[in-house]
Amino acid sequence: MNAPTRTGVPFSFGRLLVVAQNTFLEAVRQKLFALLLLLAIGLGASAQLFREFNFGSSELKFIADFGFGAMIFFGSTLTIAATAQLFFSEIENRTALTILAKPIWRTEFIFGKFLGVFAVVGVFCALTTLLLAGLLFARESALMEAHPEAFEHGRIIHYADVFVAGGLQWLKFGVLAAFTLLVASYSNTNLFTVIMGFFVLVVCHLQYLARDAYAQVASVPLRLLVRLLGYVFPNFQVFNVADQVGMGAGLNHLMALRIGGYGLAYIAIIGVLAVYSFRNREI
């Protein structure tokens, strides 16, 4: 018997985009963005409160820190919840059955899901960064009028850097989304996935502490283990460049580029692992 002549199904970026688009649309129609808008309004309102403090130019740094802090907190929560929800809605509603019964690669499905979530988080990051930049600009202008002596050399905030920092946070959320998707690809429940997602988040934020603490430990196996952990889980602290956007020379752009590459590499590797794990999943 010879093999039947086949057209074959090449990997299609178009199909991947169709899945991504649908995932994004689901988020939009589930009113996920209404929630984001609420967050943004809350952020703006709380920033108004700090106007009363009036602690000069260091107030700007405070607003930047506060803004990025809120972005990291809400963004992480959104990333984990949205990834788990948008993935499990396919499994639980058994729409995954119909879509995977079509001539589509599971790779396209998983990366499509990822891209959809990444776009949702991207909108969130863009909105909050814009809002933050607006707040900073308004406050800086007001301060410039009140204390012209403190602004002899013009504005002190590097606004381009605010956006670079926002972009890096977006990439970090991308890594987190990929991790959550990896967990989801073999997990059976939404709840387990969300909990594991937060676990990964905490480990990634704190792993540098462990690395520092155990660098001095004599026990070689333990040191190796911590070292290994440092390779498996990315260090999320490196994405936090917010404290460099305010004062001084500003952000080192080469550095930012390298951090971006670091994030993309992790997304690619974890994404491939998620595909591998999902390939063997019984739907």
């Binding site: 057209t7 729409t95 019964a101």
Partner: protein, 294 residues
């Protein structure tokens, strides 16, 4: 040497599927040594009680589950390969779709996934939606659809890329008799177009009407397979239907037949309830009701 056209639409050999159930890793055999060959152009009914492995078999055919043992080919292509699904449309049991999409958006989504060329896509989407009788409800959110409407939109998405093989897992579950008669008609039209249809259903009367071949599964095993006409036909009996006879004439007829060695049994013919239902209930042109745009 086989060419794709002579390959069976579905060919299953020695299929076994075990599920691990429970925490101790107990194995449950859902499909047990099943072999089937479904040639192209047939309407094939897969029957069996609940839990006999029909849906599991279908999922293996579609590559959604890996068989534990055995092999499964669709148009000659092993079903774990993506290209085995190029010519297959599938309606899962109790389907449930992206509820935030409208009917049209849903079918368009699947059309894009299946690679229906963009210049033909819109026309094709409209065509299949009309075909399943959902045109009036096409712009409504799928989340608002009734059970029968979900089955219909599911049928539309299964047909949108004009597949050669259509697999329907209980397409009439939860559909009213009018709707299920319409689905039967649709299936017969697909057959007339030369499509292969694999269908599971618990409505045996319907299966009998539309299927050429049936196979019956029990506990994952194939217990009976063959042509419907041969399986259910009683070759040595005939039914004659006459106007009601006066008792004397009936006795005379019975005596006349007895002389020639034939037995006569008399029954009151009854209309089947589904036929009665179909004749009494108005058949709506569109199942979607009057609301919704055109």
């Amino acid at each position: 040497m086989t060419t794709p056209t002579t390959a069976a639409a579905i060919e299953i050999r020695g299929l076994i599927k075990d599920f691990t159930v429970g925490l101790r890793g107990v194995k449950l055999r859902a499909v047990d040594g099943l072999s089937l060959r479904i040639p192209e152009g047939q309407v094939f009914g897969l029957l069996g009680p609940n839990g006999s492995g029909k849906s599991t078999t279908i999922k293996i055919i579609l590559g959604l589950l890996e068989p534990t043992l055995g092999e499964c080919r669709v148009f000659g292509v092993p079903s774990h390969q993506v290209d085995s699904r190029l010519n297959v449309g599938y309606l899962p049991e109790a389907p449930y779709f992206y509820r935030y999409l409208s009917g049209t958006e849903l079918v368009r989504f699947y059309a894009r996934i299946c690679g229906v060329p963009s210049e033909r896509r819109e026309a094709r989407v409209r065509e299949v939606i009309e075909w399943v009788g959902l045109a009036a409800a096409a712009s409504r959110r799928v989340g608002t659809y009734s059970k029968g409407m979900l089955q219909r939109i599911g049928l539309a998405q299964a047909l949108v890329h004009d597949p050669r093989l259509i697999i329907l897992d209980e397409p009439t579950a939860g559909v009213d008799p009018v709707g299920s008669a319409e689905i039967s008609e649709l299936i017969l039209r697909l057959k007339a177009q030369g499509k292969t249809v694999l269908i599971t259903s618990h409505l045996l009367a319907q299966i009998e009407d539309i299927c050429d071949h049936v196979a019956i599964l029990d506990h994952g095993r194939l217990i009976l397979e063959g042509r419907v006409a041969e399986l259910v036909g009683q070759k040595n009996r005939q039914a004659l239907i006459v106007d009601t006879l006066p008792p004397a004439e009936l006795e005379a007829l019975r005596a006349w037949l007895a002389e020639r060695g034939h037995a006569l049994s008399v029954e009151q013919p009854r209309a089947r309830l589904d036929q009665l239902f179909l004749s009494k209930v108005s058949r709506p042109g569109n199942a979607g009701g009057k609301e919704g745009g055109a």
